[in-house]
């Protein structure tokens, strides 16, 4: 039983790390600021949750579990607030989002000429 829980914890940690890597890849790969924020959102939410679930499953004692859950709640509360502040700052200062649309694309090309 103990081994099974350890295995489960390892799997959760692995999934969390893979999601972190996926978030990082998305951060490098996506075309503009707003879409990159979505990629960062993966690291903020599910990756953190999986890593903390993995740590909780290792059963480090009630006090540590409570602290881990507090950390999780804190991250889930602050990351959307920070994300919203970032997006709002970018939007207010006039950063136009990248829209993949053939018409717009051609228009922007012709206006450049």
């Amino acid at each position: 039983m103990e081994q099974f829980i350890e295995l489960l914890s390892g799997i959760s940690l692995l999934i969390g790390s893979l999601l972190c890597i996926a978030g990082g890849i998305g951060l490098l790969r996506f075309p503009d600021f707003y879409t990159r924020m979505h990629a960062a959102g993966v690291t903020d939410t599910l990756a953190t949750t999986m890593i903390i679930i993995g740590l909780v499953l290792l059963n480090p004692g009630a006090l540590v579990v409570m602290k881990l859950i507090t950390i999780l709640l804190l991250i889930l509360l602050t990351s959307p607030t920070a994300g919203h502040a970032l997006a709002k700052a970018a939007y207010r200062s006039g950063l136009k989002p990248f829209i993949k649309n053939h018409k717009n694309h051609q228009e922007s090309k012709s206006s450049k000429r």
Partner: protein, 158 residues
């Protein structure tokens, strides 16, 4: 007012006990003093009200959180899929949607829930208009159908 103070006291006391782990009488007294100090300061700052202690939501919040967690997992899988598929597969869009939420608290819960699910970010919240940027256009359609909005409105009804 009284019940907000009591709920704040319980929250702070639990938080202190959980972080300390020492239960000698001296430390417990120091903890009680610090909790009382924080409550005093929060009163003076006018923070002890229905917004910082949303007691009227407590019964409905767990089911909302369960639903939100399911949405977060689903949209995470979707976003990771599109990260791996690359730039060709995404279709970003920005759109303003209308919310039926009345109170500031409900609006903030809605906007934060939108931002918390990867793939959609609430860019601006003004009056009852929320500007949302989405990685995929179909996510926006799902949002303007208003499942999340309906659930938040249900949350604030009491």
């Amino acid at each position: 007012m009284m019940r907000f103070t009591i709920s704040l006291f319980i929250t702070l006391a639990l938080f202190w006990l959980m972080n300390s782990g020492h239960y000698t009488s001296l430390l417990l007294i120091l903890g009680a003093i610090s909790v009382a100090l924080v409550i005093f300061v929060s009163h003076r700052m006018g923070l002890v009200d229905a917004e910082s202690q949303p007691l009227h939501l407590m019964l409905r919040l767990p089911s909302y959180y369960a639903w939100l967690f399911k949405e977060i997992v689903l949209s995470n899988i979707k976003v990771v899929k599109h990260i791996l598929l690359g730039n060709q597969s995404i279709n970003p869009a920005i759109v303003t949607i209308k919310t039926n939420a009345k109170t500031d608290l409900a609006k903030v819960i809605l906007a934060n829930s939108i931002t918390l699910t990867p793939g959609t970010v609430a860019v601006e919240l003004e009056g009852d208009q929320i500007t949302v940027h989405a990685l995929l256009e179909e996510d926006l359609e799902a949002l303007s159908n208003g499942e999340m909005d309906r659930r938040v409105c249900h949350l604030e009804k009491s």
